[in-house]
């Protein structure tokens, strides 16, 4: 039996700009419960005349951080809720939320590894919850993140990712840049393709659990590639956002 998810009023306790287009909001919850890394929360906004709208955002924080959740929100051009969160909300504001929601695109150390995380753009957010959880548990499960961004300034959590990779020899973070790479960059400078997948996945072996999150076209192409490489469907979990692009 699943618990009933009630709406609750969270307090915004911190806001951090991650990139020009993304901000992280720390919310203190009166009825906090531990989420599974990868789950999301619903946010509901209400206008004075009673008009309401809702959106879902992935939790970026780890469940070991008790009492609060962090949501990282990308500003969508013309986004009704994301532009409100970016332009209006300040520390001390209240937000109506409920969660955690979603029980498939989730990973915890009890599931084991090796773990292959593949993210595009803000698709890295639920993957970050998994990495932070893994780190908080001092897990040594072999883990790799392949993270596709358009430009260096679009990389969310850059410093934290560098720090995690530096201190943990069982974790590797591999970046690829699709529009513009940093000066002197010797790594990947293209969209994720089959060759890149087999390079990156190779060291983890054929038994890896794979989580792919990002824009639809990236997820479709990566998931198709993984299936062609012989990974069992059941070990590939996906979360897509945005239009089909067709």
């Amino acid at each position: 039996m699943q618990p009933v998810l009630e709406w609750q009023i969270a307090s915004v306790t911190a806001i951090r700009a991650e990139t020009p287009q993304t901000k992280s909001f720390t919310l203190a919850l009166p009825q906090w419960m531990a989420h599974q890394p990868g789950q999301h929360y619903d946010v509901r906004l209400t206008a004075p005349d009673g008009y309401q709208t809702e959106r879902s955002y992935s939790v970026a924080s780890e469940p070991e951080r008790v009492g609060v959740i962090e949501l990282t929100v990308e500003r969508i051009a013309d986004g009704e809720v994301s532009s409100y969160l970016h332009d209006v909300v300040i520390v001390g504001d209240k937000l109506e939320v409920r969660g955690p929601v979603g029980g498939y695109f989730v990973w915890g150390i009890e599931l084991g590894g090796p773990l292959m995380l593949i993210g595009g753009g803000s698709g890295v957010v639920p993957l970050m919850a998994m990495m932070r959880h893994r780190d908080a548990c001092k897990s040594t499960i072999p883990t790799r993140l392949l993270y596709s961004s358009r430009t260096p300034e679009d990389v969310i959590y850059q410093n934290e990712l560098n720090e995690l990779a530096r201190k943990d020899r069982m974790l590797e973070v591999i970046f690829t840049f699709t529009r513009q790479a940093p000066a002197g960059w010797s790594g990947y400078k293209r969209r994720i393709d089959r060759a890149m997948l087999s390079d990156v996945l190779g060291p983890l072996g054929g038994s890896a659990r794979v989580y792919v999150c990002g824009p639809t076209l990236l997820v479709e192409s990566v998931a198709d590639g993984l299936v062609e490489m012989g990974l069992p469907q059941a070990r590939i979990r996906t979360e897509r956002f945005g239009p089909t692009g067709k």
């Binding site: 039996m1 699943q2 618990p3 009933v4 998810l5 009023i9 619903d42 509901r44 906004l45 209400t46 206008a47 004075p48 008009y51 309401q52 709208t53 809702e54 959106r55 879902s56 009704e80 409100y84 209006v88 504001d93 209240k94 937000l95 109506e96 929601v101 979603g102 029980g103 498939y104 695109f105 639809t216 479709e220 998931a223 198709d224 993984l226 299936v227 469907q233 059941a234 590939i236 979990r237 996906t238 979360e239 897509r240 956002f241 945005g242 239009p243 089909t244 067709k246």
Partner: protein, 201 residues
Amino acid sequence: MISRGFSGRRRPADVEKRLPPGQYLTTDFPVLSAGPTPHTPLDKWTFILEGLVQSPKRWTWEEFQKLPTQTFTVDISCVTKWTKLDMKWRGVTVDALLEAVQLLPNAQFVMAFSNGGYTTNIPLDELVKGQAFIAYEYDDKELAPEHGGPARLVVPHLYFWKSAKWIRGLRFMERNEPGFWEALGYHIHGDPWKEERYSGD
């Protein structure tokens, strides 16, 4: 609770009244799936009615194409909050399929099942009388794999996870049983107008 400084984006009243609570209007066709998109060759595709029926009925793709089709223009709401208006499908009603079998009197619920292992449950009386169909065309084109092609169930009056992609059959049951998302915290029924998103709503 009123959200400080939020006025919201209003749509014309005729659009607004077609949006279930908490939903927003989209003109895209977003894709949501839990895993890779299956690609079934049409000569390997079959569709079956099974479970509480006198004898099961199976169609090949070629046979299925000979069933009478209708076009349906319907509004669709996804539990992830988007609603898309006037989506135009072509397909076969569940009523037309049921003409090929004799249901047993204790058949009350249906488990739709798909290539890739996806399942979702729906009460039988919500699939009949033109309420649901198996679609293989969207917007006058064959249904794309990422949208559930070659064929998907469409149950417009329930959240879109009930409209199983890559559908391969319906199993008739006496008791209601949770499908894939229903066992993972989503509502057993899923009516957008009652905002039945999650278990217990």
